[in-house]
Symmetry: C2
């Protein structure tokens, strides 16, 4: 596996200090599932945190087994010689609190009851994640991240880091993100949530004990999500009005290839993802609004940030359009922060941030080289 | 009720001649529910057909009872002195075949079994509707419509009329429409359909005999539909991130006002609309592609049209954007047809075609005046 970090072994890290969450609930303890790539240098100055988006997790690069079909979700970006170069940087990926890939979340066993948390698991906000990630940094002895990097909801975590812990972030890379959701963004999330919440198999969030999962709802949520991840033009190029059989069949089976694609994505996702985690992640998106505690003023929120910023958007992204990234850039400029901005020409919509693209990767590589020079790696 | 057509009485018209539908199924008979406004002149030259969109019906203008809360769905456009002036024109609104407002549809009793059609009701295409509407014209002795008018799916019917019956349409007014759906349009429709089809109360379309309706699915379909009817900016202006209670509640009840709006719309719709009709209407949209029988060439499809065209789009409509209307206009120009085009500045998205707006109504009024002069009314 050239350019790959190779076979990686996830580790579960236990945090036994209680954490008071924004919702008012305190969790007495929690685990975070983590992967690391590359080596932490003696000065502990070369660490990069990768924050995941709605359905992401700790498995960012490499493979778990030689015969894995696919590598981690950002393997094109991270590895030896890649834009985030693991020959120079120590990279940490984690599954966020509330997730369903090994970190403590709604499907985990609540030690107090010996049953899955389900409906009793608290909602978690972006700033709660930053708190758990700060403790993760402490665990590794990392005082300051060389960079916190994320796309979409991951970019929101990077942005939040610079506000909550200004001195602990040297660079924030905020990709295909937004300073807060619009009414339309919230609307899409609420339709997805209602699909899950009204699925008869949801059982108020305690489906685990009924031996079922709200597959129908989760499938619909994912189908809808996928529409917002792709662009109209990108879908048109890939699927257009292509028919499965070449003829109209006048029924409700797959008629157009786009239907086949979406249903397949929905089916696959509902096989492995936890519905309560999906709900929790969409609520974290809705609630994210770093300007809120500053009278709605994002400039005021960012005034004490010390990080340097790289903001990247993609032209055909309509979930978080370039205009949303420019809002962040404008607020940073108004707050007199150091910010670089790139708008990448792409037909791949929101998903572009996950894909290999030379102009995008070149910008990332150049920016990471600058960071490497600063921290002498 | 100034400027209103006043109290109207719908009429059910029976068609006892069998109709062979595009799907290959023949219906032995059917009823159409109809309303008319104004008076047909002696020359029968002043008739205007109003074609409805996905969830529309025959009740286009006026009220059924003095104390009706709301008038017909296009009452702002149609009435004495209004852009479509019922002092001059004879206007017909109908509920399309397959509908759920009195015309024969999936919820009607099948005379062969004495039970609701349900899953046995055939899919109906736009060109089938045009066929039923032609028989409706025959019923009234109307040889040529002064105009066929429709927004969205209604505009597709107007366009189809000019191809199937060139000599029977003097003018076609195609508003907020598209020459065929994109992959993204189909994708949204398929998510809506899957919500209904996978609702446990759907029972393969025969829910009537189970005494239930697939409310959950229909509600989700409508919530999703509403997002595509409004623009991001329009939603932002109206709802933004406004909170129901002023505070984050950290739960799944209504948090943001936009959630309240969407859930209310979904609830209301699922109380009265038939799920099988919803499925049928979305399929009619998907299948619409008048260029298909001309090797995908819309220009060839329109070459024999005799009507004059008015095409109107709205800047913030992203369901059927101005670019889609311009495709129609370009095809008409390439086919050397007579076409006028207006792109109306609006923040109201796709729904703008239903709303009162001076520049929009002025263009409609001016164009209808031209028609009135042609037919001497």
């Amino acid at each position: 596996m050239t350019n790959s970090v190779g076979i990686v072994i996830p580790q579960k890290i236990a945090f036994e200090t209680p954490i008071a969450l924004s919702s008012g609930v305190t969790l007495p303890r929690y685990d975070l599932m983590v992967e690391t790539y590359g080596e932490l240098n003696a000065a502990k100055s070369n660490a990069i945190l990768i924050c995941h988006a709605l359905s992401g997790h700790h498995h960012v690069a490499g493979k778990h087994h030689e015969d894995d079909k696919a590598p981690g979700w950002w393997d094109t970006m991270i590895g030896p010689g890649k834009p985030i170069d693991t020959d120079r940087f120590f990279v940490i990926g984690l599954n966020n609190l509330g997730g369903c890939h090994g970190s403590t979340g709604p499907s985990s066993i609540d030690p107090a009851t010996n049953k899955p948390f389900g409906s009793t698991f608290p909602l978690v906000l972006v700033r709660d994640w930053v708190e758990t990630q700060a403790r993760l940094a402490d665990h590794f002895g990392i005082r300051q991240w060389a960079a916190v990097v994320g796309g979409s909801l991951g970019g929101m975590q990077a942005l939040r880091w610079t506000i909550t812990y200004p001195e602990r972030v040297r660079h924030a890379l905020v990709i295909a993100s937004a300073p807060k959701l619009t009414a339309q963004n919230i609307a899409f999330n609420d339709v997805a949530r209602q699909a899950i919440l009204t699925d008869p198999d949801f059982h108020g969030g305690d489906y685990y004990r009924h031996g079922v999962v709200p597959r129908r709802g989760l499938r619909l949520a994912r189908m809808l999500g996928h529409i917002t991840y792709l662009s109209d033009d990108g879908m048109g190029e890939k699927f257009g009005r292509m028919l499965r059989s070449g003829e109209y069949k006048y029924g409700f089976e797959v008629e157009f290839e786009i239907e086949s694609y979406l249903r397949y994505q929905g089916d696959k996702f509902s096989d492995y993802f936890d519905a309560n985690t999906y709900l929790l992640m969409t609520k974290a998106l809705d609630y994210f609004d770093p300007g809120r505690h500053y009278g709605g003023d994002l400039v005021a929120a960012l005034r004490d940030a010390l990080a340097k910023f790289l903001v990247i958007s993609f032209t055909s992204d309509w979930r978080f359009s370039p205009a949303r990234s420019r809002e962040i850039v404008k607020a940073l400029l108004d707050a007199k922060r150091d910010v670089s901005y790139a708008e990448i020409d792409s037909v791949h919509g929101h998903d572009a941030f996950l894909m290999e693209d030379a102009p995008y990767h070149n910008i990332m590589r150049a920016y990471l080289n600058r960071i490497a020079a600063e921290v002498n790696v």
